[in-house]
Amino acid sequence: MIRLSGVSHSFDGVHALDGIDLEVGEHEFVAVIGRSGCGKSTLLRLVAGLLTPSHGRILVAGSPVTRPRRDVSVMFQRPALLPWRTVLANVLLPIEVFGLGDHRERAHELLELAGLGGFEQRRPHELSGGMQQRVSLCRSLIQSPRVMLMDEPFSALDAITRTELSLELQRVQLAQPRAVMFVTHSIDEAVLLADRIVVLSPRPGRIHRVVEVGLARPRALGQVELDAVSRELRGLLVTA
């Protein structure tokens, strides 16, 4: 679904990414992990079409990425909700921008599933950080994306909420698998969620290693089998 070949990117004289080759399958969840400043957010922005690579090619669903597209949704570190809109209107924003028909029923469904039933008419500031990020997740699901790009979506949340949302995302992915690129610096999140984990080395960002997580789903946090993978990753991040 996503194919990067020989992708390099520099801006303002900074060589951020170098020679990235990566493929993400149609139903595959790929986590990208690395220290801060290793260019993992840049990688995501390139696939999103928010940046244009200096070298190399990026294909999504077989066609080159030249600009942001409707079958690709992006979820950011912060919820990025519009404070003047209700929860429902926030979820419906992509539909409105795309000029599509009535999706209110679908929005209600998504919010219900995310445990936000009854909050449709509230404004974002009335919600906790975790609930806001759930709204943000609903917003990126409403456009029925084939590809979901997530840039450390849970990193601004407290540990408990983080875990909850990770499990929530696992549920979403199990119910309807998509191609997901999930940038994180949390080993636990990566191991819990991903089919494969890409470890980036910093400056310039290169693929250091790709780790397969061949464990059945649903996985649970603290599951013993995850520990071995976590340990391997920790070692790789040190040498990266």
Partner: protein, 249 residues
């Protein structure tokens, strides 16, 4: 309950003023007592209210015109750096010129009627509106702008579904500054050349040394300003309920 303290403050000041005119036996010609002012108003209530309505209309229509011109102007300035570089310095220069200096020319051009006053109001009001709108739209958080980019939103969407909404609380700050200036602008216009309005009443009463009448007209001006200001504050609460800027200024 919230109105109690301001009213008490006002009554206190009026009381002190009254006391001062009695204790120091000040000539009513210099400083009339509150009773003189009220008496002066009651002599010509119909006439004074009529003049007040004229000034009010000048201020409100000039203010409305400033919004109608100022907000699109701000959109253009934020939308195009070429336009910004062409016209922004001009706007600053226009604002730097003392409005009292422009007033006589405006009256020469547009006559003694209402249009010269409305133009004066626009001249004083438009700058705060343009600045607050433009800076509000510019301060849109980058994460929201990036969200719109990721949806491949058009510039029109970005402006009308994001930037303008984000600017609303700041626009209201500009509007509240402008509305008080609006009354001042109208009065400046009336001072320079008019045959009606509260500013005209004040200059005319100066000629006949009727200080009480001038004070009555000033009191009406103050009432107009305060009323308009609080109307805007009320509108802000209704229209911008998500904003934290619910203080008076």
């Amino acid at each position: 309950m919230r109105a109690v303290l301001p009213v008490l403050g006002l009554l206190g000041i009026i009381g002190l003023w009254w006391l001062a005119t009695i204790v120091f036996a000040i000539e009513p010609l210099l400083v009339p007592s509150p009773a003189d002012v009220v008496a002066s108003f009651l002599e010509l209530p119909g006439y004074l209210l009529e003049q007040a309505l004229i000034t009010l209309w000048e201020a409100v229509s000039g203010f409305g015109l400033s919004i109608v011109i100022g907000v699109p102007l701000a959109l253009l300035i934020v939308g195009s750096s070429v336009l910004e570089r062409m016209f922004y310095p001009l706007l600053v220069a226009l604002n730097a010129v003392p409005k009292v200096a422009i007033a006589p020319i405006v009256v020469v051009w547009f006559g003694f009627g209402i249009s010269s006053k409305v133009l004066m109001v626009v001249l004083v009001c438009i700058f705060p509106i343009v600045i607050s709108t433009a800076s509000g739209m510019r301060s849109t958080p980058s994460e929201l702008v990036e969200l719109f980019r990721s949806l491949d939103a058009t510039r029109t969407h970005e402006f009308f579904k994001l930037r303008l909404w984000h600017a609303l609380p700041q626009i209201f700050v500009g509007l509240k500054v402008s509305i008080t200036l609006a009354v001042i602008g109208a009065v400046i216009g009336e001072f320079v050349g008019a045959d009606a309005g509260l500013g005209y009443v004040i200059t005319a009463s100066g000629g006949s040394a009727d200080t009480s009448l001038a004070f009555a007209a000033m009191a009406l001006l103050a009432i107009i300003s305060v009323t308009l200001f609080y109307l805007l504050t009320w509108a802000e609460r209704k229209l911008v309920p998500w904003s934290e800027e619910h203080r008076v200024l």
